[in-house]
Subunit: 324 residues, 2 copies
Amino acid sequence: MSNITEISKRANVSRSTVSRVLNNHPYVKPEKREAVLQAIKELNYVPNLNAVNLSRGKTNVLGVIVPKINHPFFSNLIEGIGEECNKHNYSLFVHQSNNDPKQELEFFNRLKYKLIDGLILGSCVSPCHILDEVSDFGKIVSCEASESKQITSVFINHKSGIQMAIDHLRDQGHQAIGLCIGNPKSGVGMSRKKSFFYYQKEYGLQWRDNWYFAEQYTIEDGITVAKTLLEQTVRPTAMVVGSDYVAAGMIYEAKNQGIRIPEDLAVIGFDNQPISKVVELTTIHQPILELGQTAVSILYSLINNKVVPTIKTLELELIKRKST
Amino acid sequence: MSNITEISKRANVSRSTVSRVLNNHPYVKPEKREAVLQAIKELNYVPNLNAVNLSRGKTNVLGVIVPKINHPFFSNLIEGIGEECNKHNYSLFVHQSNNDPKQELEFFNRLKYKLIDGLILGSCVSPCHILDEVSDFGKIVSCEASESKQITSVFINHKSGIQMAIDHLRDQGHQAIGLCIGNPKSGVGMSRKKSFFYYQKEYGLQWRDNWYFAEQYTIEDGITVAKTLLEQTVRPTAMVVGSDYVAAGMIYEAKNQGIRIPEDLAVIGFDNQPISKVVELTTIHQPILELGQTAVSILYSLINNKVVPTIKTLELELIKRKST
DNA sequence: ATTTGCTCTGAAACGCGTCCCACATTTTAT
DNA sequence: ATAAAATGTGGGACGCGTTTCAGAGCAAAT
């Protein structure tokens, strides 16, 4: 494996000149440039990016941390991030944390160790002070609302999403609305929960504590939720469900039990996943792809020391189908 | 930002000793080790992994290239790969190629440039000679059957999957079976197509050319396929469909048109995606997570110069539901 | 008492580009 | 013609750890 010293000897120029050719620096005589290119070809030279990265002090790599890669929200997010990375010629580290703070810390170190130029938090459970410390070592963008003031956030306006859902259900005449979410400790979860109860009070809706479900992620979970719900004597007439999958599971089980959707139970989901179409689920479309893209372009600006707003929110859209 | 030289001065030892401490080398007197650790703490030292990588000539990073991240098959695959990477303390580059050979080449260069120690091909459209050339620069494992003899493959036994599907349908009395697949040029696509027609002849099944559909990926595609199919005067009694999503779309549309599933049309999918449960779709479960994990562990062995078989196949499983 | 062999440590080379500085040569402007 | 500016090139320090080698100190074995 050859290096620039060998190239420089072969081409009878200095190592600096080789470097200039490699980096398309204008101040190189055409003959010398040719000679260098020739030598590169002959010696089958390939630059060692580790040396380049070390020398330049940056890597053109971004990192993204998510709890689970194969989750409709996050794989969609990663896609958006990946697309934008390709555009900016960045590579992308993807790390799956399983919501484990240790795993998160592990990955944060990549930033410390200068392996990545910037970090995107898909979702993150580490406390604020850890994040603040990490942010001394590099730029961070969060894809959920973050308490930290040092971290820029782009996120979906969950409050408005919840409002959209509740308003829609109220328009259909519902006054008894339950809630089912995923991880109540995540940014999304907290924000949805908080907003839900805000509007629930605001509008004076009916409420029972057993109309609330958390930690529900899959179709199977949805089936269980429906079973529990349908055993109750006083039931909500509608459910706001944080995931289309869970909502689909609920509809599946409810129909199995002969419950009519939406007459006996209305269900509204989130995400507009493909599955929602098949089960005719009304859902709130979230601009996840755009979220990922925006995160990268903000991070890119930050890395290049451009000024960007510290918070950006993206709006949602109601997709009306037959489940409400 | 401090470096080992500063640490060595502070602790009154040589740089070598600092390095030994950092790497847990046994031959360091406890007092010196303590002094070094103390200095590291005081100076807030963080090693620069770019220097380490350059020096060691490896990075502990693997790369995976997939056409699309947010695709049920690939995000599942990436999850398996990511899990196994975490185990081996590897980081993971994820690159989305959109099946574009240029994008692929771009990523192959990471291997050349020594940014990654090994490469996993989720799916890849580049010709064999390109792959062979790249494989001179590092280890590659393919997750689909590869023509290249220099590349190790782990893949799902698609032939046996197709056989499983056809056998099951024949058991139910079907003699007129159609086929619907995704990318016919991909490894999976080619192999499914070939196997299907092999068994179709072998068993002397009925056939019409318009019972074959390719390039179908989404629920919407499935709806279109169903529409086309149901217009035909001579229809197959069953369809083998390469994707649960497409199959779900077909069932959705067929039911809309009053077609009974499975009496008028049986449908069998692939992947056992969550959606298949909701639409009661019989499907062939593929061990995708295991595929990803195996790919990493093979790559790991290759990188550490252990001998591994060049081809490994994983078996599938039929999940019977109500669509057949 | 002497050899053998481990434990411990530092010097220095190495992995490989980048980039600043100094200096030479041209070109352009005055 | 002369100063000023632009172009072109090489030297060498720098980014930062790792690793080989030589050698010192010390204990166990003969």
